[in-house]
Symmetry: C2
Subunit: 316 residues, 2 copies
């Protein structure tokens, strides 16, 4: 297998074993064959990733006297900080991802189904070389925009509401993640300046400011909780604090959700090379929602906003 | 939430709890509040689906004195047999899925990238209303056709080899799964009748016969091991037994891989309403591979082949 050589070249300080099938059984055998050590071994497992059944199968395969213990999340921690080669790949993935929104704007209009918009975006991604989408594309229109995870449905986009577009690609293994929210006009300019239009614009501008405040807070040495607080502070001042019902962001890399979580209770401190999303949003159930999301890379002096797309209020 | 009512209507003999977040914590509280029963409760967990860390969080949330035990795979077993409404949805998903191959045949030719073929198929799926693909689309050309899981890459399809197309959609929650393999001619008819062409045709016809033999074996009361053996017998007689390196099939439903596995060591006995794939294949590493896959539903008298696509040897 062509990855054998590469793995052995690149992985330092660890033994590389390639097992095509029956990974646990290969591991059990290897441990059994190598335990002639002065003292008994302890085998560390990744408790967040191993199922209870897998743990039992592994325990049954091991020679007696060996202990299984939950290891700290070493792989997650190592993956939090990206090296330059990874950052280059992530930048490319984010740029490709951003072109999907350009395509969305070409097709998004009243009467078009959410799934049709998603279809065009995903087709663009594939044609541009993306391996796949990094998660099911969210095109949430009308009252569905108030659902933070409103996957594209057969619902036709109706005039007079927000459409939340949250999407990402996987390119060369790395994920992109981006959200933009556009206002679909009521047509003929009728209600645009009404009370509902004012309220929508206020919510949008507040989310945009909250997102900017969180980005401004991103730099080495700052905790993720402080970044989260920066976004939350702006929305609270705008009277929208209680409508911001999720955390401010998350790490992104080979997986769409990686450490750290950018949330109030988290203690992680930002370091150069971390790549996180900044995605505050407000959601009025039964009415509409707004979310704006960029990916940023923590740099020595602050951060680099990777997502190139405009965040101005956009009416279609 | 609109699913609350539906869940309470449709789920019999069980309590329905809707927890948007923190499912384990809601469950822990509920169990704590309801344990004033004569004897101590035992809480059954799904060991194949709960991680070691989730099990620990649940255990920590429960009142002391409660035991956690691995429950049998009740949900998997219940889901193996589909009711008529489910079968109707599966038929629709399979028919939609099959149209993707028609599209593939329109675009698949030497020089076109595997990923471009996948792009057209996935676009067709989305436009026709599919929620998403049921797994990453496999378009494996040239030597890559010998990889049973060769996801579409940027490789251009070269003349003179097989292209394995394995793909599926999710429609109304239910998955389709289908594989067809086509021969891409060497152009100008030159090598078509050479030794390599003969060998390819022999392999294809043998896989086709093995697939037919396995389908012919599908009926209530027959074990999945017997179905697997029926396919394997044909390939062994054709001198290809050792190139058939995976199991014959698997259940399909809400998930792309469900019980039962159609494999030699499995004891499950077929019942009306089970839906399985029949997908023998042969793989010559460094050369090429062939796989043919249909979905079938076990009926009272035998089985219904759900996949409508021709299995004749096709040269492009």
């Amino acid at each position: 297998m062509r990855y054998d050589t590469q793995a052995r070249d690149e992985v330092k300080g660890a033994k590389v074993m390639i097992a095509r099938k029956a990974v646990l059984s290969a591991l059990g055998k290897w441990i059994g064959a190598h335990r002639k050590k002065p003292r008994g071994w302890t085998v560390g497992i990744e408790a967040e990733h191993l199922t209870v059944a897998e743990r039992k199968r592994l325990a049954d395969l091991l020679p007696s006297g060996l202990r299984l213990r939950n290891a700290p999340a070493m792989v997650e921690r190592a993956r939090m900080v990206k090296d330059d080669a990874e950052l280059a790949l992530i930048r490319t993935a984010v740029r490709l991802g951003a072109t999907l929104f350009d395509r969305a704007l070409e097709v998004l209009r009243p009467g078009v189904k959410e799934a049709e918009v998603a279809a065009e975006m995903e087709y663009t991604a594939r044609r541009a070389g993306a391996e796949e989408m990094s998660f099911p594309t969210i095109i949430a229109s009308g009252v569905r925009s108030a659902l933070p995870h409103g996957r594209a449905t057969q619902q036709a986009i109706a005039p007079g509401g927000f459409v939340v577009c949250d999407f990402g690609v996987i390119l060369a293994g790395y994920c992109s993640d981006q959200t933009r929210t556009v206002w679909v006009g009521a047509g003929s300019g009728a209600k645009e300046s009404g009370a509902s239009g004012e309220e929508a614009r206020h919510a949008y501008q507040s989310v945009k400011e909250a997102q900017a405040a969180a980005i401004a807070a991103v730099r080495p040495g700052v905790s993720v909780a402080e970044v989260d607080a920066a976004a939350r502070r702006v929305l609270r001042k705008a009277g929208l604090g209680r409508y911001f019902t999720h955390s401010t962001g998350h790490g992104v890399g080979l997986e769409i959700h990686e450490a750290p979580r950018v949330a109030a209770a988290q203690k992680e401190v930002l370091q150069p090379g971390m790549v996180i999303t900044i995605e505050p949003g407000v959601y009025f159930p039964g009415k509409w929602g707004v979310r704006i999301e960029d990916m940023v890379a923590v740099s020595e002096g602050g951060c680099e906003v990777l997502t190139p797309t405009s965040k101005e209020f956009l009416t279609i």
